[in-house]
């Protein structure tokens, strides 16, 4: 493997900033900004009490990102407050997913991280009532195009994204954690049963159990094809693995056990493989060996390695080669292939390729 990009090096070993000159800082800030990790970097340096050692020019950009991230956390907390208020009459708990959960639990993965939208999970039986309640309280449906509507509702695992009229914030309402058409079928019931109540909401708001949160995040990253923020999402996994395993000595065993129960050993294998390879996540050798049950055949693995190692570089010209673009495209196509049966996939990709661009021009 090539030498690590400066961004990954410093995220792993923040104390190494003492050896950086202004040229290095220039590259570091550029890589971090393009990887959407400027806030995370700033936060790491703050926690390690290193921010004061940063030269004034790059420090201004780190301080800027820190402020933006703090404001975003405040905004997400408020958004959750408003959503809970709007769904007051729904007879089922609301499960917060992804960023909103990290923020409400104040996980290290939330710190310095920018989240553009809030994701919630509700039982499929409550979906209509939830949509109605949200509409009454000022959320509107985006994607008015009939094809897009059908795509989201029938084939995906969510309502089309909703947007609040005055606050302009985006909300994704899911009823299962993966598309119903996907290859993996983790039973949403199992996730709901294991979910934990969020303090202060009388059991009305829940978050996934730590193992499930990790598996959900991994499944998204390795099977959804949205790798524009690949490195950032990988640092989320790294951060959660480090945090949960410190909180609970039995976390690694529970994680493997849970992956088997939920039929998600493949994404778990990838999560452990790439976090430890790219970010030095301290995965115990025993757990790494046990996770091999989820490994694909060696030929597939070689190919997947070549793709993901490119996808997890900072998206900056200084870190890409001529294969970066084809690799990202192949991962995108792979995700669609994993998500849908072939007879659905071909029409969808065709529709996206042929019809959608034409409409955009109109």
């Amino acid at each position: 493997m090539k030498t690590r990009p400066i961004l990954t090096k410093i995220l792993i070993h923040p104390e190494a900033i003492s050896r950086l000159d202004l040229n290095d800082w220039d590259l570091l800030i550029r890589q971090a900004r393009h990887a959407n990790l400027l806030g995370r970097l700033a936060y790491r340096l703050t926690v390690c009490q290193l921010l004061d050692q940063v030269p004034a020019q790059p420090r201004a950009h780190l301080e800027s990102a820190l402020g933006v991230a703090q404001r975003q956390m405040q905004a997400v907390q408020w958004e959750v407050n408003r959503i809970v208020q709007a769904l007051d009459n729904i007879q089922a708990p609301i499960i917060l997913l992804k960023g909103a959960a990290y923020i409400m639990l104040q996980l290290p993965a939330a710190q310095g991280r920018l989240f553009s939208d809030v994701d919630i999970l509700v039982p499929k039986s409550q979906l209509q009532a939830v949509e109605l309640a949200l509409k009454i309280h000022g959320w509107i449906t985006t994607h008015h195009d009939a094809y897009d509507q059908r795509y989201y509702r029938n084939w995906m695992h969510e309502l089309p994204p909703m947007q609040h009229l005055t606050r302009q914030t985006m909300l994704d309402v899911h009823h299962t954690i993966l598309p119903e058409t996907a290859r993996f079928h983790p039973d949403p019931k199992k996730l709901l049963e294991a979910a934990n109540s969020l303090a202060g909401y009388d059991g009305r708001v829940k978050v996934l159990a730590p193992t499930d949160m990790l598996l959900h995040s991994a499944t998204h990253l390795f099977h959804e094809g949205e790798l524009d923020h690949g490195l950032r999402d990988l640092t989320d996994l790294d951060s959660m693995l480090r945090h949960f395993s410190t909180q609970d000595a039995a976390f690694w065993e529970k994680l493997l056990e849970r992956a088997k129960q939920l039929d998600l050993t493949r994404p778990l294998y990838y999560a452990l493989r790439y976090t430890s390879a790219m970010l030095d996540t301290p995965v115990p050798p025993r757990s790494m060996r046990a996770a091999q049950v989820g490994a694909p055949g060696w030929i597939t693995l070689k190919l997947i390695d070549a793709l993901f190692r490119r996808a997890f570089q900072p998206p900056h010209p200084s870190c890409s080669d001529w294969l970066t673009r084809p690799a990202l495209w192949m991962l995108f196509a792979r995700a669609h292939w994993l998500r849908m049966p072939m007879h659905l996939l071909v029409p969808h990709l065709l529709y996206k390729a042929v019809i959608a661009p034409r409409e955009k021009q109109a």
Binding site: Q74, A75, Q77, W78, N81, R82
Partner: protein, 72 residues
């Protein structure tokens, strides 16, 4: 001028609205309590309309997310 650290919104409140908000800051109150407090204080409203006016103010404060209605 008021900055709401929960929502991140800035509000420009009328003197009466800001007094009602101050009054509610210590503990939750009923509509009647708020109305009689408004009447007894040296505010200029001293008519029967005050109860409706308090209702309007409370509704506005709820809409802004500054207060929440609860069952007493």
């Amino acid at each position: 001028m008021l900055y709401d650290t929960a929502s991140g919104d800035t509000h420009q409140l009328t003197p009466m609205a800001s007094r009602v908000l101050d009054f509610l800051r210590s503990s939750p109150r009923s509509h009647e309590e708020i109305a009689s407090w408004v009447l007894s204080s040296d505010m200029t409203v001293v008519d029967d309309a005050s109860l409706t006016k308090v209702d309007t103010i409370l509704a506005n404060l709820v809409a802004l997310g500054l207060i929440e209605p609860i069952q007493l």
